[in-house]
């Protein structure tokens, strides 16, 4: 309990993590509550009100079918954040368990499992993501599946490395000697002790997922219209740079801010979990 409280205190005192968190909370709140502030629907068109610049009526202006861009960005947030969080969830389940089991069991199984991860590291993942999405037909579900199948290896490696370090320590040896089951050792003793790297890796996997979704939208494999993710809104708007730059600007800004927020949080968390970080500040070599 005491330890958790310390961590929380550290988090609050860590400026960049706090900034990141504040930005993220605002974005999430907008994604959830945004539609309440706006009288428009994300699909309702007004063909005579095309490409209007931001004004009091349309905060972010309108797109080329006369739809309110603010509400589209808000709904886009739901999709993009969903993609990000699902990716993080997959990392936290598949990645953590995979790495955990490999690290704990060790021996031949570990070698085999890591061999598989190595194979994944040697393939052009773009290919597999595209093929999987084409196979399952473009849409949010297939994006989840494709991301889930290919983006868990980083986490697996991190967790395995941590477990290897921890498992020879006294408290684990003691637990073993007491006859605690391996699954209980993994879930109750090992994983909580490598929570730091796990949380950091999971946080940093979210931007990666959002970018991958944006890339898929760029090559025309995004979610189905009229819904649109941020990636889709941005990718469709790159030709708008000449005459309607606001249609490109706002979704890009949303992506940038979100990824910025996740990076700040991730870095902040890393500083907090890294026991060396306070010393860094005191003993820094000055020029």
């Amino acid at each position: 309990m005491r330890k958790n409280y310390d961590l929380l205190l550290k988090f609050i005192n860590n400026n960049q993590a706090m900034y990141g968190l504040i930005i993220l909370v605002i974005i999430i709140l907008l994604a959830i509550l945004g539609p309440m502030f706006s009288p428009y629907s994300y699909s309702r068109q007004a063909l005579d009100l095309q490409g209007i610049l931001p004004c009091r009526k349309f905060w972010f202006g309108t797109d080329l079918l006369g739809r309110d861009l603010f509400i589209r960005v808000v709904y886009g947030a739901r999709i993009s954040l969903a993609v990000g969080f699902v990716a993080a969830f997959i990392n936290l389940t598949i990645g953590v368990l995979y790495g955990g089991i490999a690290g704990l069991v060790g021996g031949k199984l570990d070698a085999l499992m890591m061999r598989i991860v190595d194979i994944f590291y040697s393939i052009p993942l773009v290919l597999y993501v595209i093929l999987l999405i084409v196979l399952f037909e473009p849409g949010l579900t297939s994006i989840f599946i494709a991301l889930g199948l290919v983006y868990w290896m980083d986490m697996a490696r991190v967790v395995r490395a941590e477990i290897m370090k921890l498992k020879e320590q006294d408290f684990i040896l003691a637990a073993r000697a007491l006859g605690v089951s391996p699954s209980r050792i993994l879930l109750h003793h090992l994983l909580p002790n490598c929570a730091g790297p796990i949380i950091v890796t999971a946080t940093l996997s979210i931007p990666q997922a959002i970018f991958t979704e944006a890339f898929l939208s760029f090559i025309g494999l995004g979610v189905s219209a009229p819904a649109a993710s941020w990636g889709m809104l941005t990718a469709d708007a790159i030709s708008c740079i000449w005459s309607y730059p606001h249609i490109l600007f706002f979704p890009s800004l949303a992506i940038t801010l979100t990824i910025l927020a996740f990076n700040l949080i991730g870095d902040g968390l890393r500083d907090i979990f890294d026991p060396f970080s306070p010393k860094v500040k005191q003993r820094i070599f000055k020029i």
Binding site: D118, I119, P207, G231, S252, F285
Partner: protein, 306 residues
């Protein structure tokens, strides 16, 4: 030593074999074939063409056939580009992508390491904050937005650089910048944090106490150690740069391997898909091996021979 290389080679070949098999199966599972067209052509002609390329053979037979050609170094003909072999496609496109990737890697390393070191040296002062902001932007803006912004400002508004294509050294700058943006930002941050850690170590303080100049402390002692994490992440990153990015090659009309790869998927040009996948995997395996060796040279404590 020999043992180590041999083991490594065997496991690489096994990896390649698995990748080939999975890619082959997945590729054939995807709907639509290389000769599915928008306008329907008479069925008999279509079958005729498919027979010509043995596409109607049982999948197992096609697979064995492919492997037999592969061991002879023949990646087959492209189904889309008539009279062009996959070897030629990879040759032509990779040379472009490799040039682009090389320039981008150079930009990435020079920019990233310089900015990261400066950031660490000016820890918590304005250069650190400014570089921090820039590197965050580099990490957070999608590459197609960076590309179109470069084209818009440098290419059209200021007219400093050609907007697109791969014709002169000037035309390499914008795609290389766009390609290097993410990597430079990443390396900046990595260098900064590992540099900070190193700079707080006792031996650096000792060096300083001995009266060594700032320059020699940084370049002779700190940087070499601070670069170890950079080197580790370099393998997959370099492979990505060298084989190109579809988005950037497509936007800047650079005839590289990334573009060829995505096009081959949408054309269901099976031999090209397989060829580029194998090429890419081989490159990755090789680069990872190389990185392991460099790693060992940078840090003698890490033994590569187990």
């Amino acid at each position: 030593m020999f043992n180590y290389f041999f083991k490594r080679l065997c496991s690489s070949l096994l990896t390649l074999f698995i990748i080939i098999t999975v890619t082959f199966l997945l590729m054939h599972a995807v709907p639509g074939g290389p000769f599915t067209r928008e306008k329907n052509i008479p069925e008999i002609i279509q079958t005729n063409i498919e027979n010509h390329y043995h596409l109607n053979d049982p999948l197992g037979k096609q697979y064995v056939n492919y492997l037999l050609h592969l061991v002879q170094g023949d990646l087959g003909p492209s189904y889309r580009y008539h009279g062009v072999s996959v070897n030629e496609i990879i040759g032509e496109n990779f040379s472009v992508s490799a040039q682009l990737g090389f320039i981008a890697a150079l930009i990435m390393l020079v920019l990233g390491i310089t900015a990261g070191t400066l950031s660490a040296l000016y820890y918590n002062r304005w250069p650190d904050h400014l570089l921090g902001l820039l590197s965050t932007l580099g990490l957070a803006i999608p590459n197609f937005v960076i590309s179109i912004l470069l084209i818009y400002f440098l290419g059209v508004k200021l007219n400093w650089l050609p907007t697109s294509r791969w014709i002169s050294w000037q035309s390499t700058i914008m795609p290389a910048l766009a390609l290097a943006a993410y990597g430079s930002a990443y390396i900046t941050r990595l260098t900064r944090s590992s540099m900070l850690e190193i700079l707080s170590k006792d031996y650096i303080r000792t060096c300083k106490a001995y009266g060594l100049t700032t320059y020699s402390v940084i370049y002779k002692h700190a940087l070499k150690n601070a670069l170890i994490p950079v080197v580790t992440c370099l393998g997959p990153m370099l492979a990505g740069l060298l084989t190109g990015s579809f988005v950037i090659e497509n936007i800047f009309a650079v005839p590289g391997l990334g573009q060829a790869f995505v096009l081959s998927i949408s054309n269901r040009d099976y031999p090209v898909i397989m060829g580029i996948t194998i090429f890419y995997a081989t490159l990755l395996i090789f680069l990872n091996f190389l990185i392991d060796i460099i790693y060992g040279m940078l840090d003698p404590r890490i033994r590569m021979m187990k």
